[in-house]
Amino acid sequence: MSRWLGLPGYAGLGLLLAGCGGQQSILGASSPAASHIESLWWISLASTGVLSTLVFLALGYAVIQARRAAMEERAEDADHGGEGRVILIVGALIPTVFLVGFLTLAVRTGSVVSAPDETPERTIEVIGHMFWWEIRYPDAGVVTANELRIPVGEPVAIHVSSADVIHSFWVPQLGPGKIDMVPGRTNVTWLLADEPGEYRGQCTEFCGVQHALMSLLVIASPPEEFEAWLERRTDPPPVPTDVERRRGLFLFSDRGCDACHAIADVAPAEGMGMAGPNLDDLASRRTLGALRVENTPENLAQWIANPHDFKPGVRMPATELEDEDLEALVSYLRGLEP
């Protein structure tokens, strides 16, 4: 009967959830805020589970009772007095008591997770673009894309905004949840990683054709490692010396790559080089296309030739290049490492 379906459902759900915790899982919290919210989930699952099971049992019993009454041909109970009182007590009083408790917990959790205990010393700006993330370390003057590096063990303030449509910034394991990236506004959230490692983020406001593959890699490393990386990144990328790479650099402007992509010393005139990710540290990035594929020379070449193979509909156009030109360009780009 339908009334029993809820129960194995819960059991199954509980068992399944126990084994969760992937790289983008709400149930794999690696920060104080995410852990608080994870506990809130378990408490609400348990409490509503108990309450609704009681209601299901009552419904099941009612049906059995009504079937039996029909089989025994019991007469209709004409006395309906007191039913209203029962309905009010069970239907209004019990949920009210539960809701007061649950709302209190929710409000407290909300204020605990909405801001870190200590004021963050570092601010990182993340700007949403269709369909990638621009990441700025304003104090150090460093710009990168799609890979957000943070130091472990300290809260980091994240200021988000958007260059085009509304996106939403979400790193489930490290933050207090999502914050929308809205053009014309700056919203503030924070991240804190308990452990060094790689975490996944994802755009969670539908932003167009490639919303699905707009992911973010968060790399949490020990503070000294992070500082060293930031320090390295303040230097411009090395100027190519060998012939092939120099030709790659030439092609980079000749073929108009620099209309959208900035590379420190190559950055073209004002207003250009803003539409696509900054490529200063391209060679050191783990992935291409906001986590779409691993950053290998082959994938990079294919991406340049036709990014739509990986992400149909992205704004970067396919580029027709002779094989050797493509090789030169890839070779130049592969040298961009701080």
């Binding site: 399944l16 959830l17 309905i87 204020s111 939403s168 489930p172 929308d180 779409r292």
Partner: protein, 843 residues
Amino acid sequence: VSDRVRGAVRLDDERERSLGEHLSSVWAPPPGALGFFTAVNHRVVGLRFMVTAFVFFLLAGLLAVAVRLQLSLPLLDVLSPEAYNQAFTMHGSTMMFLFVIPFLEGLAIYLVPLMIGAREMAFPRLNAFGYWVFLVAGVGLYVAYLSGHAPDAGWYNYPPLSGPGYSPGPNVDFWVVLITFLEVSALVAAVEIVVTILKQRAPGMSLTRMPVFVWAMLITALMIVFAMPALILTSTMLGLDRMMGTHFFNVAAGGDPFLWQHLFWFFGHPDVYILLLPGIGAISMIIPTFARRPLAGYTLVVASMVILGMLSFGVWVHHMYTVGLALVGLNFFAAASMLITIPSSIQIIAWITTIWKGRIEVMTTAMLFALAFIVLFILGGITGIMIAAVPFNWQVHDTHFIVAHFHYTMVGGTIFPIFAAIYYWFPKMTGRVLDERLGRWHFWLFLVGFNVTFLLMHVTGLEGMPRRTYTYLPDLGWSALNMISTVGTFIMGAGVFVLLWNVWWSWRVGPVAPPSPWHGRTLEWTTTSPPANYNFLHVPLVGARGSSGEADRGDAADDGGDRPRWLQALSEGRGGRRENIVTDVLAAEPEGRVVLPKPSPWPFWTAMALSIAFVGALWTPYLVPVGLALTFVALVGWHWPSGTGAPDEPADDELTDRLTGLKAPIVWGVVLLVAIEGTVLALLVMSAFYLRLGAEAWPPQGMATPELATSTLRQGLLVASALPAWMGVRGFLRGDRRRFLLGLAVGLVLAGGYLVLGGFEYTDRAHGWDTHVFGSLDWLMGVYAAFHVVVLMLAAATLGSFVHRGARGAGYLPAAQGLLVYWVFVALGSVLLHGAWHFLARW
């Protein structure tokens, strides 16, 4: 029922039969192909709504299958990203706008008159008009889909993504134009349902004796009246942004994308309860019938529905927890959202109590769907409580957890009741009972398939899978969960196929249904299955509450019993007129009778003309005035005096034909129209305040403060114009037709002055609507007011010319009163817009 019921005549069987034949010919839907376009009968229109909506349900279901196939494994290529975005946008838009609301409205249009003992809805032609509008809008959306230009920015269309900059193609235009058009249909049906319920209940059916389904539809229709205007306003703004270059949502020119979100969800959240309440009403009819006892806690259930309806207007921000608003405000909305649990659980406990103390003799398919509804509604409700908690929502917002949650509420809360309703009322509508064995197959396949699809989807969401994504990468561990969901979709689909087969088979050769196959005790079961053209041979008298199964059947179906003389006269269809009794709002005491219009092709033509205005906007804005002009012509044809109006000669009984003021259904219709337009107006004023508060300078730098004198002068003219109109209507009430015409003429001249001065004022404007959102607002408010004055003047001139021709004499009195109500609204509305605008500019 009052004294008037006493004093009766008795009829013999022969007289009954000839009366039935006569009434049947009076109320017969027109025959033939031409008749197809002219029919106005509520049961014809209601069935059309339901059948058409169900076709859209099947289409949306196919889209869901395509979506699930694409997601069954990572990086599949079943749908391109563009095709996927169109598919989920169309799936959501279709289910929300083209299936659930029209289907439930169709159900109400079919059932409400039968449940309240009426022969017809209050405005039959409006009913037919609403159907044609729905058909054009729905078909238009699918023509767009087949042409490859389906909307693709989600059913909620957030700008700037849906704005001209990021969705330059015609795709979103189709959504904006057709969904706005469709809301016209939803709104006319709502007005119709409210007025029918309030004014055309059988004598004795006081509000406290009304069946719960009728209560649910009354509340739902009132919610539509106050919620849909927000959608109409905001989609109009988006359409103007896209087609006329205004800046309501353009950050660069002072607009604000959050304005869209507030207005959309101010409609969108009540909309969820608009979808839910009719189902709650239907379940509250079905459970008592099969539990063989009245609904426990009738008053509590009705009160809970009223409270749900009201609360649903105060929770829209819970769709916006992540946009960056202050936490204090969010907690307020969290509390309001959680409050919804209380009326919901009161209803659930009332149903359980009803069953507990009842006797289920047969476990019918309808009852199975009703029981499953309770379970799924609870499951959807508890995840609803969870996501009302702000921090948990921050995590699961826009993940598959939400997809699972709202499918439990929407499928569990509306589609399961719809299926229950189909099994329950199919015999009444077709005269055949649906097959129970197939019904069980349908039930179990759909229930199992539904849970396979959506139960584990909660986990998919908790594992971090976002919504509205056409694919995902293999290493995220979501593949197995997604595959299970896809398999479930096919099981659900199989269930729907069984239903289709069952309907097709049973309609042709199923067992013939008696008048009351389930021993239901409300009025619709007292007439034949399917009902005769006239629904009830005699207007029923209600002695006790029908809803809880206590309809006093001796009173309700006493064919040939003692009848009051006035009621008898009403039953006879004098002069071939379609008449219905009119009763008062609270106690349903008889007040008089109305003559309802006969079939007409004009509702069809009006819908076509209005389609030119709306659909034409897709090509060029210039088609809008053309379409509106044609609409006016069609409306004149619609209202052209025919010979079937109320008779001028006094009737030979005690029931008056001369209903005025709030006794007249048409005045209620106008009051509801004013409620709709007043809501649009109020939201427009609030939007102006919102945009002004978000602006640094107002007027923005370089733009002039609008000049006050001319504007105030013309407001004065408009207010003054209502005065002669009022005096004219007062004269008309005393029978002085010339005085009425004179009043209208003077009023028209003054209102014309308003328009002329307005023309001067706006041609003087240094800014256009495309300079800044300041200009966009200025023009929209000015045009909104002026458009209403034009409509008012056309209506006044038309009514005046009809009265001048003398076609119906005093029959136009309630129309004149309605016109006056509208006149006062237009004048005050213009003053409010004007006052708010100048206040903001100088504040």
